[in-house]
Symmetry: C2
DNA sequence: CAGTATCCCCTTGGATACTG
DNA sequence: CAGTATCCAAGGGGATACTG
């Protein structure tokens, strides 16, 4: 239990590789800028984070409330999701040391803030949903013969 | 080579689970809307896709050009990344059947389009980069004692 | 209630070798 | 050149059991 400090430390795939860590910007993107964009996308793009942020955007909720609302998430995953969001400063964790314990989660201003651009992307995704869907159908239809 | 048709079919974690596949919207989000947002985020949030889209936003490029520019990506991963982007309709693949073969990749209008909201998110990520960084430092400093 | 601790599976990404 | 074919390691997500 002591050696896994990396659990919610790094989103993993979000690491921008060494290729352009060296001075040269790729398409006008410097490595660190590129990295911070990746960080946000990786955090918000994982399976549950975005949903959790949405849930908390109206009111703060306690652990069990979140779990119940999300339905099919496991405790472990909800915990790591919340820790990740907490680490990056999107949520705060309020502990009430009672018995049984009570823990509430609340969006920070950063958490509320990120909803702006994320909602814009969401709106785009919704408006272009059919295009993506059609592209997929077309692609899959063309490639299914190769696959079988 | 026939049974792995799922390689670039699904982003994996992007699947919105059964919990709210049933009628009830979560926080005003219906399941399919939620799914399409997840799809976009998962696609654009993987390790290389966003970078590839950025590279192609100025000019079309051939496979080897992309590989060289990205530096540390493997052929396999570049291929699957491009296939994924092609499947979702963000890029098109132009094959010139010469020897040796030549394949060019170009952004579609959908591909150019997604850069809008993505750039907005990128700008946000850049402007709030320090906040995230500070939050992480603070969090890690508080939790390092527990971890060791 | 709000977590840990384990164990397990699957997917992603990478390294290497081979081919039309 | 532009891919496939294999193999491998690491991480994410899930199921279950236990605990302060």
């Amino acid at each position: 239990m002591h050696e896994q400090e990396g659990t919610f430390m790094k989103p993993g795939h979000s690491k921008v590789p060494a290729g352009h860590t060296s001075g040269a910007p790729v398409c006008g993107l410097t490595a660190d800028v590129c990295q911070s964009v990746s960080d946000v996308l990786a955090r918000v793009g994982d399976k549950w984070s975005l949903l959790v942020i949405y849930m908390l955007s109206n009111q703060s909720m306690r652990f069990s409330e979140l779990k119940r609302s999300l339905g099919s998430i496991s405790q472990k995953v909800l915990t790591t999701t919340l820790r990740g969001l907490e680490r990056d400063g999107y949520v705060v964790r309020h502990v009430t040391p009672s018995i049984p314990p009570r823990v509430d989660y609340e969006l920070t201003s950063l958490g509320h803030d990120v909803l702006g651009p994320v909602k814009a992307l969401a709106m785009w995704a919704i408006s272009r949903r059919k295009d993506v869907e059609n592209a997929r159908c077309k692609f899959d239809k063309l490639n299914i013969r190769d696959a079988i």
